[in-house]
Symmetry: C2
Subunit: 324 residues, 2 copies
């Protein structure tokens, strides 16, 4: 859904505090459930909130709060099963991130919502203000696009009229694999990606979420100190999801960069000579690819995707011998 | 509505951070609109969030985030009028509290919700862990009870079947005055109350909200280090609202201590010899009364209201020559 942030154009707010030259880096986000596994939903929501800190290069979160809107339409029994699972997923993800959930708030509402708050107190060298891109930098993306397409296609398996529109370009198995890959990707933390931003001297980053790749690239471009623009050449997409998106006409606008992502990757401006090493390092540490998707040129702080971008099909991956 | 907090029984979470012996004191709260003035609703929501910090004796908030759920049932025109007013009220209240709103999140939802996050980074002497009540302390309350009763009675002016149940005990003017008094009270910050907790050596406090006076008193009692119990003798109530509550049978349970309050006062454990001075000082500074409502006895960490508590009628007040 629409996610207009109040205030300035960064993923987290940075506020000086009254002590020791420290700053409070803080973010909040909440949205609606989009996968049918409550535990995974909790993990995704947590990863999604933390991602705004990671986009600022912050790697250590000091505290999290959880925000839950429980649906009035659930039976008591459904609530008793679903809510603890969501909470467990959220807490497990926080644990994986080296932080804890110390509080939160739950209300009831016709629609289920889930989200949280992530806060850290840090020294100026712990975060990277995302405004320092220079001509010659390249753009790296750390997760494939297409989560929304994959989630929708998976829902359509049970809706014949929808399914008929895409069944010529994709098999049921492709859709199930794409959905698993999307869940895995959305639940994955951008923490290593953030850590490596420091090692490879990143000039700024954002995370790709509700406004799609291009929307977030444009927002990042707008806030640069230098006269630069971003040009995107490559679109890494979860396998087969580009074909699904095309078969749906203008609905997703995936190749135009407008398809919403949930808990997407970091889009990072890196010095050209460091970018390949960054991608190699993250793959070595996590077993996930990252891609150089574009360049930083002289320009008036805009972003665009070239006319016929190269679509990189990102396959379901082998992990622990199991197909994801 | 039900507000089960995740985690420990304090109004805010306290988390040590990695720098300089500092702690992160943080809280979040959101609920549903309850007054028909969007600007006042914004102020009340902000005061209500901050109140959890003030209950811990924290007087300076470093940062706020706003959480808005905009109703799907509003027309675009309604949204364009109402949402900016709510946001302005919230921000103005934050300004009054010496803090700023640097971010937030907005989603749509069938039901409107409003709330926020308040965070401060502070030294150990800046907050008061609410677990230090001793036998002989007294309990002070800084705002009158009855906000929920007043808000409901005001809605009933337009509902003849409801109004008929209470019109024998209250006039329309009483209801309008009570409603104004409730709005004024809910929008008032507990900041001075928090500041004076330090001056008069408070042993702990909580704020009175969704669980009513007794619910919050019981929660506070449960977390005491010493073997103490709280006994409440006096109930300050917005003028006429005790009569309204009685006329409604068991609906509110106001005199039993169970009527929910929004952005209620602080319930504070103070040394007996300091309590009167505390009440005098807050009235001098703010022009609002506070009341000694009970005592701390030896006991097993429970709280109760005596059989026939004295109801203190709290009149609408004169302020700037205008009747509130």
């Amino acid at each position: 859904m629409a996610i207009p942030r109040i205030g300035i154009g960064m993923d987290s707010s940075v506020t000086p505090v009254r002590h020791g030259g420290l700053s409070l880096v803080q973010t909040t986000d909440f949205f609606y459930p989009l996968v049918d596994d409550p535990y995974m939903m909790g993990k995704i929501a947590c990863a999604n909130v933390l991602s705004d800190l990671y986009a600022m290069g912050v790697t250590d979160c000091d505290n999290m709060l959880m925000l839950l809107g429980v649906s009035t339409k659930m039976t008591e029994k459904e609530r008793d099963v679903v809510v603890p699972l969501i909470m467990r997923g959220f807490k497990d993800s926080a644990l994986e991130a080296g932080t804890t959930v110390t509080g939160g708030q739950t209300v009831v509402n016709p629609w289920c919502t889930i989200g949280g708050v992530a806060t850290t107190v840090c020294q100026p060298n712990e975060y990277i203000v995302p405004d320092n891109a220079v001509v010659g930098d390249v753009l790296v993306l750390t997760k494939p696009l297409g989560t929304q397409v994959a989630v929708n296609a998976h829902q359509w398996l049970d809706q014949p009229d929808r399914w008929n529109r895409i069944k010529l370009v994709v098999s049921e198995e492709d859709v199930r694999k794409g959905y698993q890959r999307a869940m895995d990707s959305m639940a994955r933390l951008n923490r290593t990606a953030a850590r490596l931003m420091h090692k490879y001297n990143a000039h700024g980053a954002t995370d790709v979420t509700g406004f799609g790749l291009l929307g977030h690239a444009q927002n990042l471009a707008k806030h640069q100190k230098n006269e630069v623009s971003f040009v995107i050449h490559n679109l890494p997409v979860i396998s087969k999801m580009a074909a699904v998106a095309k078969a749906c006409g203008n609905m997703f606008q995936l190749l135009q960069g407008h398809s919403a992502e949930t808990s997407g990757g970091l889009l990072i401006c890196l010095p050209r000579e460091q970018a390949a090493a960054y991608c190699k390092d993250i793959e070595k540490q996590e077993g996930y690819q990252a891609w150089i998707i574009g360049i930083v040129e002289k320009g008036l702080r805009t972003a665009r995707i070239i006319d016929k971008p190269r679509v990189i099909e990102v396959p379901a991956k082998e992990k622990d011998g199991e197909l994801w």
